[in-house]
């Protein structure tokens, strides 16, 4: 079972729709037991990292996420979902985050339009099953004003260029996290989801 964490914000619908399109069912939930019993857990997100963190803490989901990550079960995070996995964010001052990926979320460099909004090329930095059938430098849809800067560069699975090299994807143990939105990245976005859930579910549905 695929659990999509519902923390009262974010546009979950497009993630649910994309997962349905590639042939899987998902459950949108904020129930700790449901999340802890899922085969795959998805943390989607749009909006502000600080608000997201506050909502997760208020619902007690922060602890649940730590448990899921510690259990080794596949965990997919998208956009703000990726950002809250870091140690802290600079958004609206300084705000502690989940601390699962050591590093900081910083404002995009000045000199270009912010948000970074639109289709940009994904440079694949590692070999990984999520990239199966997806050519290097394929365009994916980004919309964000902050970006994660991991302490350990080896967790960066893909980058994109926007004034500087941006960490666009993290792969660390059982975590796959994307700054872009695969569910809004057309055919190749759906391909990436299909690759991911095939890998994560290992034949289950």
């Amino acid at each position: 079972m695929i659990a999509i964490i519902d923390y009262g914000a974010g546009n979950l619908r497009s993630v649910v729709n994309a997962i349905a399109k590639i042939g899987y069912q998902s459950t949108v939930t904020n129930d700790a037991d449901t999340i802890l019993n899922a085969d795959v857990v998805v943390l989607p997100g749009v909006g502000a990292a600080r608000d997201t963190m506050d909502s997760l803490v208020e619902l007690g989901i922060d602890k649940v996420i730590h448990q899921v990550v510690a259990s080794g079960r596949p965990f997919l995070a998208i956009c703000i979902g990726l950002q809250v996995l870091f140690s802290a964010t600079e958004e609206e001052g300084w705000h502690e985050c989940l601390g699962i990926i050591p590093g900081t979320v910083k404002r995009l460099p000045e000199g270009r339009k912010i948000p970074h909004m639109g289709w940009n090329q994904l440079e694949q930095k590692i070999k990984h099953p999520v990239f199966d059938g997806i050519p290097d430098n394929t365009n994916f849809y980004f919309v964000h004003s902050y970006h994660g800067v991991p302490d350990d560069n080896s967790v960066i699975a893909a980058t994109t260029e926007y004034g500087t090299s941006i960490c666009a994807m993290v792969v660390k143990d059982n975590i796959v996290a994307t700054q872009f939105h695969p569910e809004k990245s057309g055919e190749y976005g759906l391909k990436m989801y299909a690759n991911y859930f095939k890998m994560a579910l290992g034949g289950k549905d």
Binding site: N11, N17, A18, P115, E187
Partner: protein
């Protein structure tokens, strides 16, 4: 490198796309879902749906359109028209829209921008500005209510204020150029784009592929929106993108 976005605009009323289309190969050229899927296959980068239904009954129909589009089309899309309060925004975003566009309601109640941005994030809030060149020719005035109502507000100043209040993007329509097919108002576009920190979508006046090129270069637009050149198949989106690429504009192909 971030690519420039090409965005077809679909006017919807009572659940149907209007303003005429020549998509004869589609079973039903007026079905928004079918047209959206067609533009997706054609490599449109985003879509804008403008709800031009006047009645509140029509609003439920629009929510249904948004829901059906979101189930079938996996590129970002914006919904505008008739969004007057945060509850309207929530309805469209929960149905699956990625962004909402507000126009007259933002002028009347600028706090709507801030309230929406706080609730859903700036990236969801597009402020649409209809601008008309002033009689003296030294600036542009904001019009509301589908261009019927002059406001006396300076368009460049309003764009800046909207961004300060939380707008994540500006959809800028030249009322002088709209429907004329003589090109976008390049001066208006560059004036706004240079003065705001967020992306600007140029709208109004596309007639040739050079017009799109000009808006993206001299006009400094981050994206271009067009309706009739795509609906009447003057050009396909792919054709436009190949042309822009041949002239050095980064596009997604």
């Amino acid at each position: 490198m971030l690519t420039k976005r090409i965005i077809p605009c679909l006017d919807v009323t009572c659940g149907r796309v209007v303003k005429g289309t020549s998509f004869t190969q589609l079973r039903d050229a007026g079905d928004p879902v079918e047209l959206a899927a067609f533009y997706d296959i054609e490599d449109a980068d985003e879509l804008v749906f403008l709800d031009i239904t006047a009645s509140s009954d029509g609003r439920d129909t629009m929510v249904d359109v948004v829901r059906r589009v979101a189930e079938q089309v996996f590129i970002p899309f914006t919904v505008g028209g008739g969004i007057r309060e945060v509850a309207d925004m929530r309805l469209m975003l929960e149905a699956g829209a990625d962004k909402v566009s507000i126009n007259s309601a933002a002028v009347q109640n600028p706090e709507l921008i801030t309230d929406g941005a706080k609730k859903f994030g700036s990236q969801c809030i597009v402020v649409a500005i209809d601008a008309k060149r002033t009689a003296s020719g030294d600036g542009w005035e904001v019009l509301t209510h589908g261009g019927r109502q002059p406001t006396g507000i300076d368009a460049v100043g309003w764009a800046n204020r909207a961004v300060q209040l939380g707008a994540g993007e500006i959809l800028l329509t030249s009322w002088d150029s709209d429907g004329q097919k003589q090109g976008y108002d390049i001066k208006l576009n560059s004036a706004v784009s240079e003065s705001v920190s967020v992306p600007v979508i140029a709208s109004g006046g596309a007639g040739t592929m050079d017009h799109l090129y000009d808006a993206l270069t001299v006009g400094k637009a981050d994206a271009v929106l067009a309706a009739s050149i795509f609906h009447f198949k003057t050009y396909s989106i792919r054709e436009v993108k190949e042309y822009l690429q041949s002239r050095g504009i980064p596009v997604r192909l």
